[in-house]
Symmetry: C2
Subunit: 368 residues, 2 copies
């Protein structure tokens, strides 16, 4: 039905298969740093959810960075909070503000009332996935995504972003039974949501555990990782005879890299505090790694961007090991691209990743 994939480098790197170069994409690559994104957003009434819920607009902005840069994957334009919105919590984005829920989940009654939402309420997401797959026409693979159960719970309890996570952590420590109930519902909902994205055409999926890193050691394992693991275990991992890679990214998850590598995902995303070479040495034989340039590097000059990208590639090293097998590296930032990023620096990044990673694979330098 759909056109054959012309560039499967990203999928191959996720699965630790041989690649000619290191694939690259950027978290939040369709976003406010692009003038064409801002133009489409104006058409959508300058509303984030206006963009995300309109299949034509969501398709348009998803493809915009691909027309500008030689990136190796597309990612669905959406938000991590669509699932709790479908649960009836009333998501909105104020002007210049972060997300807000009209009905945060803060007491036993609200927790008891939570349920896996009717997936028909998220039809706009699945329709966007199908539309984007069609529009991509095989250029690069499409990544679907969701927030992790814990990250969704943070927003659901706090009602928005937070500096200290006081409300959600108070519930976690005072009423762990309520927190576990929220996380169970979220895990079931996220699994169903991602499986529906795969049915609609997503060729890989990513779980954003954006706030896992705010948890204490011990609490992270019980309240974030255990539920991420449930999600991963419930995913369909093959579709139309092809493996559907799963990426898990815990911002600030460096301390738990070994445990993350055993969560069942094919790829672990890393933020910029992690040394790529050391991470590869620890877990590279179990999972591929994605990351991990500091998005702030993109505020410098194209020369600095290229130098830092090369340093990251060198830190990982040639992906082929001396025994002939391959480790996987998907180049990315360690967090979403910042709205103040100069456009030419993204081009410099993509070019440097592609050219230097090809050089790293040449017989003269590839020593494994």
């Amino acid at each position: 039905m759909t056109a054959p994939l012309q560039n499967d480098t990203f999928l191959r790197a996720c699965l630790r298969q041989p690649t000619d170069y290191t694939p690259v994409w950027l978290m939040r690559q369709a976003g406010r740093y692009l003038p064409e994104y801002k133009a489409t957003r104006v058409k959508a009434g300058n509303s984030f959810m206006g963009l995300a819920t309109n299949v034509a607009y969501a398709t348009e902005v998803t493809l915009q960075p691909l027309d500008r840069y030689a990136i190796d994957a597309a990612i669905l334009f959406s938000d991590i909070l669509t699932v709790p919105d479908a649960m009836g919590l009333g998501l909105s984005f104020g002007a210049g503000e972060g997300p807000r829920f009209a009905h945060p989940v803060r007491d036993e009654a609200a927790v008891k009332a939570l349920a896996v939402p009717d997936l028909n309420k998220l039809r706009y997401v699945f329709d966007a996935v199908t539309s984007i797959r069609k529009a991509l026409n095989g250029r690069v693979p499409l990544i679907g995504f969701s927030g992790s159960p814990w990250t969704l719970a943070c927003y659901m309890v706090e009602g928005g972003g937070s500096d200290d996570y006081r409300l959600v952590k108070t519930m976690l420590y005072s009423r762990p039974d309520l927190m576990h109930r929220i996380l169970e519902v979220n895990a079931a909902a996220v699994s169903a949501y991602l499986n529906a994205q795969i049915d609609a055409g997503a060729q890989a999926v990513m779980v954003f555990d954006s706030w896992g890193g705010v948890l204490a050691d011990g609490a992270f394992q019980r309240f974030s990782l255990d539920y991420t693991r449930r999600v991963v275990a419930a995913l369909q991992r093959e579709k139309d005879g092809k493996r559907v890679p799963c990426i898990v990214f815990t911002k600030g998850g460096g301390p738990w890299l070994d445990e993350l590598a055993d969560c069942g995902a094919d790829v672990i995303g890393l933020d910029w505090t992690v040394n790529l070479g050391q991470a590869r040495a620890r877990v590279g034989d179990r999972v591929a790694l994605q990351g991990n340039l500091d998005p702030a590097v993109l505020f410098a000059t194209p020369e600095v961007v290229a130098r830092e990208a090369i340093a990251a590639l060198d830190s990982f090293g040639p992906p082929q090991r001396s025994d002939g097998t391959w480790d996987g590296h998907v180049f990315n930032l360690g967090h979403g691209i910042n709205q103040h990023t100069p456009l030419e620096n993204v081009a410099a990044l993509v070019d440097a990743v592609h050219s230097h990673s090809r050089a790293l694979r040449s017989p003269h330098t590839a020593s494994g």
Copy 2:
């Protein structure tokens, strides 16, 4: 001149010497969660700097938590940004806001104009230290402190707090020469400032690298740790025949624990993402460890607080090793105490730390 120290448990733990129990103090223990602090602040015109620059008020609020709780150390009431304020950057605290500098350091001219400040401009700090030492009358040791060179630089360039550290990281990556110049001045200023606090009576000093954890691996070593190391190397470590322990705390510094342990400090502070037992196994034979309860635990019940404190102590384990030598643990939070903390929970924490750590040292449980 001053009264002999009645409780040196904190100092002994810092130096990995035998102790009867695990000492505890809390970052920001003199602060807004205490009603008596708020009352003194009203007397000072409801101004943070009004409190910090008035020797009598600074002394009063420093001692307030000691009158309420059996904590094992006092820490000077001040702010990490007094040094750049003395450099002429114009520190202020807006109502309900964080710190602001009227004259941020953002261009070459401003960087070139920076110099180590005349320490007489910080006389109010040293006078407070001397006054507090006198008022303590030997009850517990007094800790002096400063921000780290990097953390000061963040505020100096950004002009205040930041979400993305765009300005300071842009300078770091685009003009590392300017950033190094700021850090050199800061390192010299912080060293002189801490040495003057020691001369005034501080019995231990702590370097708060609050924003080291926002740096990428590699950048952290070059722009934060190298300058912290310079500060530590320049400190007087003995005063009146007594060792003056130095604590270094990098929030988010878990990924660099091994390198931090070699920075010359006696104690490394840990945030709550770090597993205490694993950290001890890695570096406990080189440095004492301070931390690391999530301050959010204090939002729960006294029972939960006690349980989590006990879990942290158990994670570290009995400080005496099987060969008879001692490792050091100073109990603390992994970050400053939150203003919404219930008072009774702090009492529960201190009691649990003291009683359980005594039990851990009993012959029945102390297996090293």
